[in-house]
């Protein structure tokens, strides 16, 4: 299938290269956010323990909502990727795939 002239043309096309580059740019950006979120939390615990003990309500320290925020934040990043992939990636991928079938 990939040996057809259409496939080779598609592989070499700017549109396909742009799509792949963009996919990894989005992935790596979101991965970076995830690393900052999680390892930031771990390093915060390791390096600045007293900060997490600050009370926000009678006996609730701020560390508890921060821990919960890491979980909710991870889910939100996952959702962000889905929104991007469904809105931007899929239509373009489908368009490129269709050029392949109409070529033959």
């Amino acid at each position: 299938m990939t040996n057809t002239p259409g496939a080779r043309q598609l592989l070499a096309s700017d549109a396909f290269r742009r799509l792949v580059t963009r996919r990894w740019r989005v992935s790596l950006f979101l991965s970076l956010c995830l690393f900052v979120l999680y390892y930031g939390y771990i390093l915060l615990i390791a390096l600045n323990r007293p900060l997490l003990a600050i009370r926000i309500a009678e006996s609730t320290p701020i560390g508890i909502p921060i821990g919960a925020a890491v979980i909710v934040g991870s889910w939100a990043l996952t959702a962000a990727y889905i929104v991007w992939a469904n809105r931007e990636f899929d239509p373009e991928a489908k368009r490129l795939r269709d050029t392949l079938t109409t070529d033959r």
Binding site: T2, I42, I45, W75
Partner: protein, 515 residues
Amino acid sequence: MTPLDTTLGAPTTSAIVFFLLIVALTLVVTYWAARRTRSTSEFYAAGRTVGAFQNGLALAGDYMSAASFLGIAGLVALRGYDGMIYATGWLVGWPALMFLIAEPVRNLGKFTFADVVAFRLRQVPVRIAAACGGILTVLFYTIAQMVGAGNLIMLMFGAPYEWAVAGVGAVMLAYVLFGGMIATTWVQIIKAVLLLFGVTLLTGLVLAQYSFSLTGLYSAVAGRYGSAALEPGGLIANPVEAISLGLALMLGLLGLPHILMRFYTVPDARAARASVLYATGFIGYFYLIIPIVGFGASALVGRELIAKVDAGGNMAAPLVAELLGGTAFLGFIAAVAFATILAVVAGLTLAGASALSHDIFLHVIRRGRATDGEEVRVARLATIVFGVLAVLLGILFKGQNVAFMVGLAFAIACSANFPPLLLSITWRRFNTAGAVAAISTGAALSVILIVLSPTVWVELFHFSAPVFPLRNPAIISMPCAFLAGAIASLATREPEAEAKFDDEKLRTYLGVGAE
């Protein structure tokens, strides 16, 4: 609250009724699935007809083990906030799985993650190496689950350890052997729904004691055990250790064969992607509420009693369930814990069996030439081999401290399985030598460094000082595996692998030719 007389350890009527109901329901599902399981695609991948929402639940079912349900609740109950830190580590792999490999793995593979690694490389050496990495991961994970299962059932129902392990093995084998991935998927879904429902109910019962005020619960904990219970304790004393564990938990998920295998049960990459979002939602919700159960157990039951029943705190959730919901609710929670173990072990067994039959039998012994019927027969045989092995190892490791084995499974997954997956998807120059080097370096380093670590060298072998200071080697073993893969690839040339990279790209990103 008065200290309670617990019925834990004795089989109560309600526990037995719930337990029988769950086993009966799952066996009916297995019977139904068995009649739909004929081809390899049905046996390994449920015919690729599972919906995204269902697969999301099944992924959650595969991942939420008894260790995370009972273990994290216990950790929070006995050690407070540290249990919450641990819980976050178990979730953060899911977004990484989505961003880095979920869609390419779905598009490139057929039944196992080795399909992806071997896609454009020489089949025999790569399949052998990848199957070894996969089987080691699954095996260590299974031993930990089996030993945990034996202890738990002994603790909750008073059943003898060997009978408990053999019983889990027999029921689990029935699911996988007859119903393949279709039965396994539905067992995971049933278990995930029961577990989420049970824990939600338990959380509600705990919060009802404090008129649904979290602050009220935290005040009660602080009142009983001081404000330190709500602050970080000793878990992250050493930042390097914490980051190494975090890496293993996060990126190890990306190399767990039984999780990756689930992506082949959905029709396409779009569904695979959606199923990760659902799974992350369910698992995130679970890890958000499980600390509430743990804190509730320490405030209502008390750390002393929890530790007296089980030093590791594993009975915190069942004890608070009994206190607030009576014997019937305890029976329900105990049955759910049992279903959890069954489902996780079934998923692991299917992954181990498919590495044996699809990677080793079909692609190594038969060089890719076997009929579909033959492969299914061998897959069933491999299921029996793996299931019996799991039971025997479970009995062999009776009474041993196997907690390190889950860490070892994650270390091998992130050091031996994840690097070749990522490299083969993204790097044109990656080749057979690179794959074999990455896998063997990652697997060997993980095992050696864990043996030399404080967990095994000091606590198991009783030497005075560890040779390697970290409990989890990921921070060393994973970069070394990537490095070995890169060096070996650059040192050798494999023009065919490079040429096929284009083939791979259309399939990876556009799904052209995906199965």
